[in-house]
């Protein structure tokens, strides 16, 4: 395994499974201050609540000290410092860097400069590999396996980076994908070619109600207004890709609904009480997955 976590594509099937196994162990025993002597830099060049707090919680539960910043406004970046110089400096201070940055490819670049491991906490619309690993952990926990599952991916399949990474990571485990989106937000050709090359079965539809009865996992994503050139088209589709309690009545007992959050109106509040709702637990799982990743990278030094 590489000493960084930049892209989900860098991970083999065995490495993914190893991280999930470690995450399960951390969930059993959440307080393991094994890195009391370590400093972790949490550097966020753009704001994020969930991801940053999840990482910092994970670092704290491992006993590490956390330094960093939550946006670039009050840093030397605002004075025009290059990313190279910022990373060179911070890798002198910390034992590991967690970074979010709005530019795509910034994390890969940072890992080439840094002396210490880098975890990509999101590089623009490109990759967010810890989200993907917590998605996989959530699938594994709720289904008891990652193999041979029917996974519906719903909403914005064109721009959603969580969707693209999930498709790539799940492709190790012989899934069937039910791709459900308005035509404007269908999965881009290169990802369909990726699935075809890997021999993964998938079906495309615009009808959400059709896929619900056959799904083991329904992965919801936000359909954002700004993605549409025609505002009337947005008004037409925004409620079609919205789940409510009555729609999931006929679903499989093991079916779970995931969502990378924040949700807006794509999952109605009445779904929250259902045994199928899993999105808040999913976010909670992120802490254990991030503890596992930090541990794996710090121990490989």
């Amino acid at each position: 395994m590489s000493k960084n976590l930049i892209s989900i594509q860098d991970f083999s099937k065995d490495e993914i499974l190893e991280i999930l196994k470690m995450a399960a162990e951390f969930e059993e025993n959440t307080c393991q201050p094994i890195f009391k002597d370590k400093v972790i830099a949490s550097i966020f060049f753009e704001p994020s609540t969930r991801t940053r707090l999840s990482f910092e919680t994970a670092a704290n539960r491992l006993g590490a000290r956390v330094i960093g910043f939550t946006d670039s406004i009050n840093t030397s970046v605002a004075k025009g410092e290059t990313l190279k110089d910022t990373i060179k400096m911070i890798s002198n201070y910390a034992d590991l860097i967690v970074m979010r940055h709005p530019l795509e490819g910034s994390a890969r670049y940072a890992s080439e400069i840094s002396k210490v491991p880098v975890i990509n906490a999101g590089d623009g619309a490109n990759q967010h590999p810890t989200q993907t690993l917590l998605d996989l952990y959530s699938v594994y926990k709720t289904q008891g396996t990652l193999e041979n599952l029917s996974i519906s991916v719903v909403g914005d399949l064109k721009y959603g980076r969580t969707v693209h990474s999930l498709l790539q990571a799940m492709s190790h485990f012989n899934p069937v994908f039910l791709l459900t989106s308005p035509a404007e937000l269908a999965l881009p050709r290169e990802y369909k070619e990726y699935l075809i090359n890997k021999g993964i079965r998938f079906m495309e539809t615009t009808n959400l109600t059709d896929v619900i009865p056959n799904s083991d996992i329904i992965y919801m994503t936000r359909v954002q207004r700004e993605r549409f050139t025609d505002p009337i088209e947005y008004e037409r589709v925004k409620n079609i890709y919205s789940l409510n309690a009555s729609m999931i009545k006929g679903s499989k007992p093991n079916m779970k609904i995931l969502h990378p959050l924040p949700r807006v109106n794509e999952i109605a509040i009445d779904v929250d009480e259902s045994s199928h709702a899993y999105y808040f637990e999913q976010a909670h799982n992120g802490i254990y997955v991030r503890m596992a990743i930090i541990t794996k990278l710090l121990k490989s030094l």
Binding site: K84, L103, E104, G105, N126, E193
Partner: protein, 154 residues
């Protein structure tokens, strides 16, 4: 009729022939010929059976390494490289596309780190449906031939 060279012969050096006319200045850029001190002659919009209009570059006393010259395969895959000694062609070389392209091509993704920070671009070359494409090492996006822009060293 006597055969007459449009671009005069060189005694020793390298001749790059069968360059598409519209790619001539990109080839000059890629090979950094604007900063080359050797004698260089070139002609463009010459008649060509193969390309319609072609360009030719003759560089006296300069010989290129394969890695150097293969960079132009991106934009002029049919170019022919002739090595000249004493007015004679002593070697003909074919171009082959390198597996990695460093610092020549601009990534077409406007939010790629390489378009905002002083980072050399790096691509791996891939073929999709027999078409050459460049996969960015950083942002993981594809730049295809239609969108290929050369970073000018001028």
């Amino acid at each position: 009729m006597e055969k007459h060279l449009k671009v005069s012969a060189i005694k020793d050096g390298t001749v790059l022939d069968h360059i598409p006319s519209d790619q001539l200045f990109k080839v000059i850029d890629i090979l950094n010929l604007s900063n080359c001190i050797n004698q260089i002659t070139f002609g463009t919009n010459l008649d060509s059976k193969l390309l319609g209009k072609k360009a030719i570059i003759k560089i006296a006393d300069r010989f290129f390494l394969d890695d150097e010259i293969n960079k132009i395969a991106l934009i002029a895959p049919q170019a022919k490289i002739n090595i000249i000694h004493d007015f004679q062609v002593v070697e003909k070389r074919e171009l082959s596309v390198p597996s990695e392209i460093k610092g020549i091509v601009k990534c077409m993704n406007p939010v790629c780190i390489t378009n905002h920070q002083p980072v050399d671009t790096l691509f791996s070359t891939i073929y999709e449906n027999n078409e050459l494409k460049l996969l960015c090492h950083y942002c993981e996006k594809i730049t295809d031939r239609q969108n290929l822009k050369i970073i000018s060293k001028g």
